[in-house]
Symmetry: none
Subunit: 221 residues, 4 copies
């Protein structure tokens, strides 16, 4: 019976930390850590300032909890990727990166990237997070597909890191641009707002990557 009575109350209590972290993330991203007020975070989570301190010992703690528990989710590149042997490496690569880019855009990863850039000096754990949860997984996955492509004779033999570089870094800038710059009045004519810019960028990079015996322009004749 106690359970019944408490249900909604308990559910609330269970949800509090998550709600607070959500609110904190939003405000940290919006204003930066220093300028985000504890009271505003609490208000955004629908509680009073003091309640925030029931769940987190300090504003710093909030950020640390964000780093530890919440950042990772939602920007996992390896989440879903088809490894069927039948698939061409270039399609695999396209699928993975398109999905990741889409995920990052949807979860407003740019805000998080910005926060990491801004606060990494005060919270070195952010550097770890950045490396461990963003750069390296992406590198590992993309490299793997590139190596697979090279092994299968689909790709030219290139340093896989160069492909990572050419495909992943632009995604990061696009995220930053969207979540940090776009709210400000950036003209739509901007380079980064072009329609399907990532898709076309991907195909362009692919051009330099694929081994294409069939597309010989008759040079040897």
């Amino acid at each position: 019976m106690l359970e019944r009575v408490d249900a909604s109350f308990r559910r609330r209590k269970q949800a509090r930390p998550r709600e607070l972290l959500e609110a904190a993330l939003a405000l940290f991203v919006e204003k930066g850590f220093a300028a985000a007020r504890a009271e505003d975070i609490a208000a955004r989570a629908g509680v009073s300032k003091a309640t925030l301190y029931l769940y987190f010992r300090s504003k710093e703690d909030l950020l640390k909890a964000l780093i530890a528990e919440r950042f990772a989710s939602g920007m996992d590149i390896a989440a879903t990727h088809d490894t069927s042997d039948a698939m061409a490496s270039q399609d695999l690569l396209r699928d993975v990166l398109t999905a990741w880019q889409s995920t990052l855009m949807q979860c407003h990863a740019g805000g998080i990237f910005k926060l990491i850039l801004t606060e990494v000096r005060n919270f070195p754990a952010l550097a770890d997070f950045w490396t461990r949860e963003v750069i390296e997984p992406a590198r590992r996955l993309v490299s793997g597909i590139v190596v697979r492509g090279i092994d299968r004779g689909e790709f030219r033999s290139v340093d896989p890191d160069l492909v990572v570089h050419a495909l992943v870094l632009p995604i990061i800038v696009m995220c930053l641009h969207r979540d940090a710059m776009r709210p400000a009045s950036v003209p739509d004519s901007s380079l980064l707002n072009a329609p399907d810019i990532f898709g076309r960028h991907f195909e362009f990079v692919l051009e330099g990557l694929i081994d294409r015996p069939l597309q010989c322009r008759g040079c040897c004749r």
Copy 2:
């Protein structure tokens, strides 16, 4: 002797605003706008806190002055570029971008990029600056060379913006990485610390760009 003293004094006085802006830039970049203390900026410029307010009406004013007067210098991509017709477009492109990348690295443009990302919401002028002084000049210049290359039959016929995308965005991330992340303990094995990463990245992108009748891989034999 009085004149001498006055002279240096005057020179000092003339230099004050510049010195203060310099100090402000350093601290804004290091700690962010909100966390940079007016007192520290003044101290770094070698004057008292009150003196800062003789030259700038507020901390915000400092940033606005920075945006208006100081950001542009030092990251101008068009500063020096050879337009001799004799030069191959790929060499031209390589020279320009290598020089720019080098300039950006040297003037710690990453810090400024970070500042722009962080404060653009509070200072919309930063968005203008970003577009007008960074993205568009680079786009214009690179596009121009690409078009020249296509016109001269050196490059494949591609959307020039894609080349901008593939070459410029990674440079931005590299700057951010260097000036915002590197001070934190990022492992040297990091993707972005690889030796001559930009040079190799450039060559990789170039591969997909050049029209290569001479570089046939022997496909027709």
Copy 3:
């Protein structure tokens, strides 16, 4: 079984106020009224913070209840004293004061004395308590024995209050020293830590008090 449970529960409930007062006393003594946290008091009494407020309307109320109900017990000088006529006044005095001093030491009266000193300004009732329950009873009792001694020709004829002064005040300091200072690192060589300091002090004062025809130091020879 239900009865059993209820019984102990009831007993618990009956005991709650006492347990809370006990806990409050301990923490008020340890940290002072202002610095003692309601939550810590409740925790020490084994209940939740909210429960404390079922029994006492405020933290102040706790102290008032302490003053009213609990301080008096345990430091009553008149508790047990032998009034047999056969006893020499000096022995009577020694017995009474030694017993009292011992009682005070055991019940950590020094902490209470400290609390009285600290909070008397905010709780004037503490001054009443101090006078009515500590000073005056001791004064009455000691004075009475001194008068008895004088009447019986055992003591010199002195103002009884002077004896009270000489014997009671040092006891108070000793209590304060023990319960307020000793936990801090006071060197054992301290004046107040000497072995049997009270006993020896008593005998010293007694020397000046007794009429001693039998203890002539041979001055007339």
Copy 4:
């Protein structure tokens, strides 16, 4: 000339720490450390709360500074004491203690004693202060005179510490009583408010101390 212009300003600045310490002492004594508000301390010193923090890094620092710099002055028992050989030890002792008692009363040492008792748990330095600046100097001085008196045949041969005990501890209680209790409504009939109580107490203790061959009551005859 600069000195002239600044004179009053500078004097103010020089005086600030002293004024703040004075105010802090008053409020710490009146309300205890925890309950004394920084704002009230500043207001009492005639400055704003923020100004307090120009001179002291925290409220704790204020107390530490008080301990280190201000407590000692004003309660120095050894300040002025005549060591002329011509003086009788009992007169020397009376003079010294009367002067000390008077000094302590005037500088409201009782408040400081109370503060020490209250805060010694949080500021162990207070225990050092108490021992080093109050108890031991008094002990040393009184002991010295007692030994001198014994050596010169003026006093009975007693443990000097007992005399310290009998004379110094009551002074401490009197101070505490006056500065901590008296503001509260303690009846004037109180033991400790008797006229010249210390003088009479001293004479009483002296009775038990002096060697008096001339005052033989004829016991040996």
